[in-house]
Amino acid sequence: MKIEIVSAAFNPWEQLQAYEQTLTIPRSKWGAVANFVGTMRDYNVGDTVKSMWLEYYPGMTEKYLQTISEHALTQWDILDTLIIHRVGPVQPGDTLVLVAAWAGHRAPALEACRFLIEELKSRAPFWKKETLEQGSRWVENHTAI
């Protein structure tokens, strides 16, 4: 299990591959890896978004992500999980979040991955402030699935 908050741009596919190489469970045991990659768009609710500031609560954010990862590992028959989330200044096209779950079969991998990203989005302490062409605004919480 790995949880990381990063303040610099990261390549989710390189991170996924690098983490897989650290897994002690042999590749022949995991038949499935499900992942979700979230990327910053350059628009939101009809406006062009030029950049974004991602704030978090150091300590609590990691603690919450650890809690949901541990829950996923007990709730589903999965082997491991990975969450990486960006903070600080972000540009359109940058990866915001990577969530992955490894399992012997696809169903638990997909379900655990879905659980982790939905819990992260609805309860993990992160806040977004968008810079628009004119002015800036905090993003309010009424997200679409």
């Binding site: 979230g38 990327t39 910053m40 768009r41 939101n44 609710v45 991602l54 704030e55 978090y56 609560y57 300590g59 609590m60 603690k63 919450y64 989330h85 915001l96 979040v97 990203i117 992260l120 989005k121 609805s122 309860r123 993990a124 302490p125 992160f126 806040w127 977004k128 402030k129 905090w138 993003v139 309010e140 919480n141 997200t143 679409a144 699935i145």
Partner: protein, 81 residues
Amino acid sequence: MTIVVKFFGSLREEIGNHEVKIKAEQPLTVAQVWAQACDEVPLPHHIWTAVNMNYVEQNTLVQDGDEVAFFPPVTGGSDEN
């Protein structure tokens, strides 16, 4: 007793402060901590609250040395619409 109070997101900007310390003679609830830190303004209903980095209700009792946080609903991940 001394309590550390933290604010995040838009609330941090509105309050104009990320962190304050308050002193109290007797145990306070989270809502009373807010009132003492914010000039007796009632705690808005939509604000989320945490003590020692765990989500709590507004009527939770706070102990000496606790860290109490107030913040707006969270907006992590991606996919806003």
